[in-house]
Symmetry: C2
Subunit: 452 residues, 2 copies
């Protein structure tokens, strides 16, 4: 019989990986809670009408779609069956899809529950999402997102708070990061300024790649999208802008002097920078005009976080969106949010060896099993240890000593208790410390004192 497998791009998590992942989720959610965010969850399945059209044409293709239950063909005519393309037929045999991100379901949640929640609403959410992307190293078809969003407030103090949260999360992890920041309004201003306001999307998509493909390729791409040579040359000072954040701002203020939108963006960035400066955070904060992020729904601040000591893509990202709930019929709710990529953080912590030493929450004490009499002697002691919160196990069978000790080794159990005939006679137990090999004969009280 063939060894069973799981779908490509998905993963099983073994105990050690779970302990690491739980550490990541716990650290992030602790910080979210410290800032007053409350947890929600949404179902894995959403109606396709909620999901379709929200992630672009490519996104629609990458949605995992659920086949309708029962006799799904009964609603399809012979003619449709023969003439429809796969995409067209999909709409007739599938009504539900798996969550693709946490943002769109959250927008749906806010609209659906608007009378049960009070605004401004600060929520966090840690759940898996599914994308039918081609699996590759570090990219999975099922992965976890950890999002915090605040909706129902325009205040830029929310942006400041997100920066504080990013700073706090990564300083708890011990990961040195640079928080990159830009503003969609500045990007719009730039597009106006170079006379290509209508091509803002093409421009942002192209300059977003500057880091990866270099300036020449970016210019080629801009040209291929029909951006004029004049516009491209006007754009060069922006792409090559150097200096401190405040230097960049003062250059921009001149460049965008005629764009009210652009100036508004500059003002926003300046406000956020000043507040963040006053809090003297340990993370770097850098205005990066090439930061665009693909997502069209951003309307103000845009954030992205890079780890300084590891070569890896961004490990967090987010921004301000002014009308996400509008697509579900509730306009004028502004929101701003940040998403932590658990899988990349997992890799960074592994590469930098930053996991806490005492991570696994496994058994503390294993009782060796010598047979029924000894078991009867041990069970009440084990019960007592557990009452004290000390995780304990009795090896379930009277197996060879070597096997039982091997079990303790494999599970990294630090203490083993041996209670054979002699110990029972004296109403004691022998405690073996697996690290040092040291053994002690102890009364129950002494045992408790040591293990507590």
């Amino acid at each position: 019989m063939q060894k069973p497998t799981i779908p490509k791009g998905t993963r099983d998590f073994l105990p050690l990986e779970m302990a690491k992942r739980n550490y990541i989720f716990r650290t992030i959610s602790d910080v979210f809670k410290l800032y007053g965010f409350e947890q929600i969850e949404t179902p894995a399945m959403e109606n396709l009408s909620t999901l379709l059209g929200k992630y672009g044409e490519e996104g629609d293709k990458l949605l995992f779609k659920i086949l309708n239950s029962g006799d799904f063909l009964s609603k399809v005519t012979r003619e449709e069956l023969l003439s429809d393309t796969s995409i067209k037929l999909t709409n007739k045999i599938s009504e539900k899809g798996l969550r693709y991100d946490l943002t769109v379901p959250f927008a749906r949640f806010v609209v659906q529950h608007r009378n049960e929640i009070s605004f401004p609403f600060k929520r966090y959410q840690i759940q898996p999402v599914w994308r039918a992307d081609r699996p590759q190293k570090g990219r999975y078809r099922e992965f976890f997102q950890c999002d915090a969003d605040m909706v129902g407030s325009d205040s830029l103090l929310n942006e400041v708070e997100l920066i504080q949260i990013i700073n706090e999360v990564y300083s708890r992890f011990g990961i040195r990061v640079c928080i990159k920041m830009n503003n969609r309004k500045i990007l719009s201003g730039i597009a106006e300024m170079i006379g290509e306001a209508g091509k803002i999307t093409d421009i942002t998509v192209a300059i977003d790649k500057l880091d990866k493909i270099g300036i020449e390729k970016v210019n080629e791409e801009l040209s291929s999208k029909g951006i004029s040579e004049n516009a491209i040359s006007l754009l060069q000072p922006v792409l090559q802008m150097k200096g401190s954040n405040f230097e960049k701002i003062s250059v921009l203020r001149n460049l965008l002097a005629d764009s009210p939108t652009g100036l508004k963006g500059i003002e926003e960035v300046e406000f956020i920078l000043k507040k963040a400066d006053a809090l003297s955070l340990c993370s770097e904060l850098e205005v990066d005009l090439t930061l665009a992020r693909g997502l069209n729904y951003y309307t103000g601040a845009i954030f992205e976080v890079k780890a300084l000591d590891v070569e890896i893509g961004s490990i967090s990202g987010g921004g301000r969106y002014d009308n996400l709930t509008g697509i579900f019929g509730l306009p004028d709710i502004s929101g701003v949010g940040i998403s932590f990529g658990a899988d990349r953080i997992f890799d960074v912590l592994n590469q930098l060896d930053l996991y806490p030493k005492e991570l696994t929450e496994s058994t503390k004490v294993l009782f060796v099993n010598f047979g029924e009499n000894e078991t009867d002697y041990c069970l009440p002691i084990i019960q007592q240890l557990r009452k004290e919160g000390i995780s304990s196990e009795l090896y379930p069978e009277n197996a060879k000593m070597k096997k039982q000790m091997g079990y303790a080794d494999n599970k990294k159990i630090p203490y083993v208790i041996i209670a054979g005939e002699n110990e029972i006679k004296e109403n004691k137990v022998t405690l073996k410390h697996m690290g040092s090999g040291k053994q002690q004969l102890l009364s129950r009280e002494e045992l408790l004192k040591i293990l507590r």
Copy 2:
């Protein structure tokens, strides 16, 4: 525009519900860990080849199936399209399904990772499962299971440990329960004894309903399944057996004297009862010969837990299975496990009002926002509180006082801090206790002392 909805049978969880659910999951997993179980997770999607045929014909229908990505029709001929039934076509356009329970994916996991784990392997798993059941009160299409299983050991001490775990979990919840226990071998012995060994499944399915439909209906069902009148009359003493656990055992020992399998089952039950008795657990433990549980894979002990103070179905169940991994090509791995039904526990705790009072992990302190100067004064104080682990928020906008206080009320924030011109002059803050309405003018140090 229509209000958006979610698929029927699925749920959103709002912050208060999340807090309650997290309390349930935390309590259960704390106990699992105390007994040395380690957490794993498996993907939401499994290959259909892993899932199909494991839950009976009915179960196959209730699996949520995922449409293949891309041009799924390209592998189907015109002829097949027109001639296939929905079920037949499903196999050609769908290769993956959503997890239906945690047990089968765990069996698959054990076989797939047999060289990475050490046996006996104690794992726990808390994840959602999906079933295309008709939604009804208390039954959902997405719900969470909390399972602990121990595989790779025949020892009955594992059964005893599961009883301890059940007892510990429900005593932590404050829910009084009766743990019902039976043994598949006894059921087999009974089927042999009444001369209907071949109809064990029909018999167990019928007597499993005794509680719900009464003895007459059970007898009718047995008869309709072709069980002889003689056999049914021989079965009556079993169905109506009364008395203490040990009385039942001694009656059974006579009844099943000629069935080695039956006697083995009795021996197992007796061993478990004696060990459990010695531990003087607070939960009732009752041998219930009508307990069968539908699942065919049980081979030894069968457990089910009923809440004593609420009318509701079983809130936990489990048992011994001797060959679950056999279906994936790894025979002779015995396992025993228990599953906690989070949704029913949620309802029981609600009905009995047993949730801890201080459940919500929301904000402790809200700072009222009076404008930019006051904000600049407050931000470093908030930062300091957070450094001390005190969850704090600044209301993001300079809104009317009433609105800000309403926000604190809605979110059940116990403390509000007011720092206006006067407080700033004195380098102090006013702390308002929302419960009593009491206000105090405090220095930062005094504030910290109170909130810590």
